[in-house]
């Protein structure tokens, strides 16, 4: 698939958010600027920050929601803009969450001062030792996209006004409710003013894309989107303004981008508004925005799903999006595929082929098992059948649920804690009791601290823009991200799962079964970071009970640990919702690993832990089928908010029709066993070794790391070595 315009525009698009010729740290992506905007169109970041500082003093006595809304409006009204000849989508220059400094950071500090000293101590100590990270999460918002599509920005504002009037007709609004509606009014008026400003700017431009953009902005100023281009612009605008100005990360781009677009696509083709090629080009430019922004986790959007009548949502646009994505040679955004029995085989063949050809950035989400997790929570089918995927692997009821993270839990660290107190543990069962007691204490501590912290979500970062998309929030006049959703979930995310299982098994093997070392002796070896204990470490590393090889002993341990963890689901959070559990790692397998000393599984101090529900690197020595059977034992469908397995395949095993059938067989078996999300690396050790030796020749070689693709060249030598080791096992 080729796009003649894109060829000329690619350089601009790639450099829109940062200069690709200069070093780029994706973890600080918002500190960069790429394409410049005319200074006559607004202020630079420094000037805006100064203005916000003054505003924060001036508004200090106002409710936080109103303060934030005014700050938001100030940025939109004064920011620099562009409607560039090289882009179908608008540019907003001041995209660095500028209101953090004068508002959110300040309020966060104030919030921590109000949290109990016990909880503050728990948060600090467990973070320092690497056993938990209790945090405020503003990174998993998904608006009710359907409301946005139906009403557009002006319609959402009108609806909010109607709810306000309805409520005011019944009784006086409380001060908090007044602030809630005022903030929505301020933010949405500011959005409309920005759209109007962009439209006028576009009308003043002479390039070919300007009239199209101006017309689109005109329609979005007036009401809901009318065609595919409008829809993509709307999604992009909401994303940009929420994520980059309002400081709420927008995870999925649309509620199934293919299905959302399909409704307009049919109309556009019939009316002749756009051709298929033109629509493909809009999609290409749309995807390039997210590639250029460069979020380190690869920004997600999902395809497919099941309609209310049980039929698949896969349609012409699903294939078109894959074709466009394939031709762009990008890995960001990433694509999540809702996978179920109704998915057309041709579509499965197509995305699997992309994965095997270029390790395409895709996550396969077993839809039938995910809907099962909602059913287990007692949520009605009509609410969950078209659930949203809200993060790398998390899911939520579309338009009615706000899921946020609350704490990371590192069960590996607790093995060390248990060892410190295990002198009296005469058997492995005794040791396990000790372990579970310590783990339970950690959960309880994290639960208390996170619930306390969560009470301040609205105080720290109120969410007017997001709230206006949620009908229940408007009805209740409650902040959508805090307690205004029908359902709210707070996630405990468990990382280092396999490392914990392997370490527990190693304690049993080395100390209790083989009696190769005492508890004290093992502590000594770990304290010495295994220095001088090579033989013992070797035995730990070659312990026959490893997670990932379908070993019955390790499987039993994994199942037990999984049961223990999932028991904490369903407890009340601080937002009238529940706590949920998930198993994945983001970057915590590195960050927490750096803090944790040597562990009984043979891991050395500071090394990364296992990631997601995957085995310790290099320990899946029985191949992919054994790994999947082990992962099934962790009962992925018991975790309400996410669980992901990474598998690595040798390219030769994916060749031909047999290869595709085998990949499908792996997914189907995992799905039938209760699997949630699964993702592939298709790579061989030889290629990785060559890439390590000659990085220049392999600049585009990607590896899937824990939910997102990274360039192999960007990994440090130790990480590269770990992947090579794992790849050697699959040869």
């Amino acid at each position: 698939m080729e796009f003649p315009n894109l060829k000329n525009d690619l350089h601009y698009l790639q450099n829109k958010y940062h200069d690709t010729a200069k070093p780029f740290n994706p973890h600080a992506r918002m500190t960069y600027h790429g394409a410049q905007c005319d200074a006559d169109t607004g202020l630079d970041d420094g000037e805006i920050k100064e203005g916000l500082k003054a505003l924060s003093v001036e508004m200090a006595s106002l409710p936080h929601s109103v303060q934030k809304a005014r700050a938001f409006a100030y940025i939109l009204d004064n920011g620099r803009i562009d409607v560039n000849e090289h882009d179908y989508f608008i540019t907003f220059y001041n995209w660095g969450r500028l209101l953090y400094e004068s508002f959110i950071d300040k309020w966060r500090t104030e919030a921590f001062a109000q949290i109990s000293p016990e909880s503050n101590r728990f948060i600090e100590e467990t973070w320092a030792e690497g056993s938990t990270w209790v945090y405020m999460d503003f990174d998993h918002s998904v608006p009710d996209w359907h409301a946005l599509y139906e009403l557009g920005f002006p319609g959402l504002l009108k609806r909010a006004r109607e709810y306000r009037v309805k409520k005011e007709n019944r009784r006086f609004l409380t001060l908090k409710e007044t602030a809630y509606f005022d903030a929505i009014e301020i933010e949405y008026q500011a959005i409309l003013r920005l759209i109007a400003r962009l439209r006028i700017f576009a009308l003043e431009q002479t390039h070919a894309k300007a009239p199209l953009a101006a017309a689109c902005l005109g329609r979005l100023y007036e009401g809901p989107p009318q065609n595919t281009y409008d829809l993509l612009m709307l999604i992009y605008l909401y994303f940009l303004l929420s994520e980059c100005v309002d400081a709420f990360q927008v995870r999925s781009l649309g509620s199934g981008l293919d299905w959302d677009l399909f409704q307009f696509y049919k109309k556009d083709l019939k009316s002749g508004t756009f051709t298929k090629n033109e629509i493909a080009e809009f999609i290409a430019y749309f995807l390039m925005q997210f590639s250029a922004i460069g979020n380190y986790w690869s920004h997600p959007f999902y395809l497919g799903g099941t309609q209310r009548n049980g039929e698949t949502k896969i349609n012409e646009v699903s294939y078109l999006i894959l074709d466009v994505y394939d031709s762009l040679e990008i890995y960001n955004p990433k694509i999540q595929i809702k996978y179920s029995r109704n998915i057309p085989p041709a579509f499965t063949g197509k995305f699997l082929d992309m994965i095997r050809r270029k390790s395409a950035s895709m996550v396969i989400v077993c839809e039938e098992n995910v809907v099962g997790t909602f059913a287990k929570q007692g949520i009605p089918y009509d609410d969950y059948f078209d659930f949203d995927i809200t993060g790398c692997y998390e899911y939520a009821v579309r338009g009615k649920e706000t899921g946020a993270g609350g704490a990371w839990i590192v069960p590996l660290k607790i093995v060390l804690d248990a060892l410190d107190h295990a002198d009296q543990a005469g058997s492995f069962d005794d040791f396990l009791v000790l372990y579970y007691n310590r783990l339970s204490e950690l959960f309880e501590g994290a639960y208390t601290a996170a619930n306390e912290m969560e009470q301040f979500l609205e105080y720290v970062n109120p969410a007017p823009m997001y709230s206006a998309t949620l009908e229940n929030s408007l009805e209740q006049a409650k902040d959508g991200y805090f307690d205004g959703s029908v359902y709210t979930a707070t996630g405990f995310t468990v990382t280092s799962f396999a490392s914990a299982v392997d370490s527990l098994m190693a304690v049993r093997y080395l100390v209790y079964d083989k009696k190769l070392v005492t508890i004290d002796g093992l502590r000594g070896a770990l304290k010495a970071d295994w220095e001088g204990y090579d033989d013992l470490r070797l035995k730990a590393l070659s312990c026959p009970w490893k997670y990932g090889i379908n070993n019955p002993e390790a499987n039993k341990m994994a199942e037990e640990l999984s049961d223990f963890i999932s028991r904490y689901q369903g407890r009340p959070n601080a937002r009238n919702g529940i706590w949920t559990m998930e198993v994945h790692s983001a970057r915590q397998f590195i960050e927490m690993g750096q803090k944790i000393g040597a562990t009984p599984d043979g891991r050395k101090s500071g090394e990364e832990t296992s990631k997601n529900a995957s085995p310790v690197m290099g320990m899946d020595k029985q191949g992919v089928t054994a790994l999947i059977l082990s992962a099934i034992k962790t009962k992925p469908d018991h975790f309400y908010s996410g669980h992901c397995l990474d598998i690595m395949l040798h390219p030769s095993s994916t060749e031909g029709e047999e290869g595709l059938a085998a990949m499908k067989g792996l997914i189907d078996t995992y799905a039938q066993g209760g699997g949630a999300s699964i993702q592939f690396n298709v790579v061989d050790a030889q290629t990785l070794r060559k890439a390590q030796e000659n990085p220049g020749l392999y600049q585009n070689l990607q590896i899937r790391v824990c939910g997102w693709n990274v360039l192999f060249n960007n990994m440090c030598k130790e990480e590269q070595d770990a992947y090579i080791k794992r790849a050697e096992n699959i040869a």
């Binding site: 070797l538 070659s542 379908n550 029985q622 191949g623 992919v624 089928t625 054994a626 999947i628 059977l629 030769s652 095993s653 994916t654 060749e655 031909g656 047999e658 290869g659 059938a661 085998a662 499908k664 067989g665 792996l666 189907d668 078996t669 039938q672 066993g673």
Partner: protein, 289 residues
Amino acid sequence: VRITNIKRFAVHDGSGIRTTVFFKGCPLKCIWCHNPETISPRPEMGYYQHKCVSCGRCALKCASGVQVFENGVHSFKRELCVSCGVCAKVCPVQAMELYGTEYTVEEITPLLLEDEAFYRTSNGGITLSGGECLLQDGECAALLAEMKKHNIHTAVDTCGNVSRSAIDTVLPLTDIFLYDIKAVDEDMHIKYTGKSNKLIINNLMYLDNLGAPLEIRIPLVPGCNDSEIEAIRELLSSLRHPVKARIIPYHDFARTKYKALLMDDTMPEVIPDIIENKEIKLCHNRRVS
């Protein structure tokens, strides 16, 4: 059952996801063989010198004085080795590997059933391969019968240079034969495999006459038997029943195994990108007898 390996997630040994059992012993000695460890019927040790870290663990355990360390340098006295495999068990870096382990059918069966769920979702099953599995035809039949108790699809990968009775033994229990044809020209066959192909072609005709499901596999080695492709095509077209035939691309990844086994490396040089792994089209002569 004497085998060298059980490979799970085998995807090119019949339909779907399969587990392949590599039997030890082969009547042929193809110069391009990429499983040289399966040729001899006897157990043997592979010594991967490049992996050895000279830790000395093998020498401590070896009762035959095979593993010798002089001035920290490891040497492997193959002539003394009885292939007991003790050294492989203690080697931390897999520098020693035992090829040829005895299993009972009862021991192998659960290993083959482990991936049953994958066979079901992918129309896969198990494949008996080698070496030449039909040199142990009784054991093959026992294993296949176990698989049939669980309604698992079975494939037998054979070079065809086996007795008629061996074929008859497994025939009722085999869902498909993966049947190797290397050359039609007898002299060429002898040159590259060490044996005549008469028995192989006779057995092929026998299976065809019985209507046994067949997939023909042609290891086509550039510079060796690639001139035979037309003759093979003609041979297959003369079969009574249509068959699927597949060219197996040649690679020389097995050179380290030859070295580890101290065997003469007979593998031809690779001429890249000449032949793909693909099905070949056949014009079937559907005669009705």
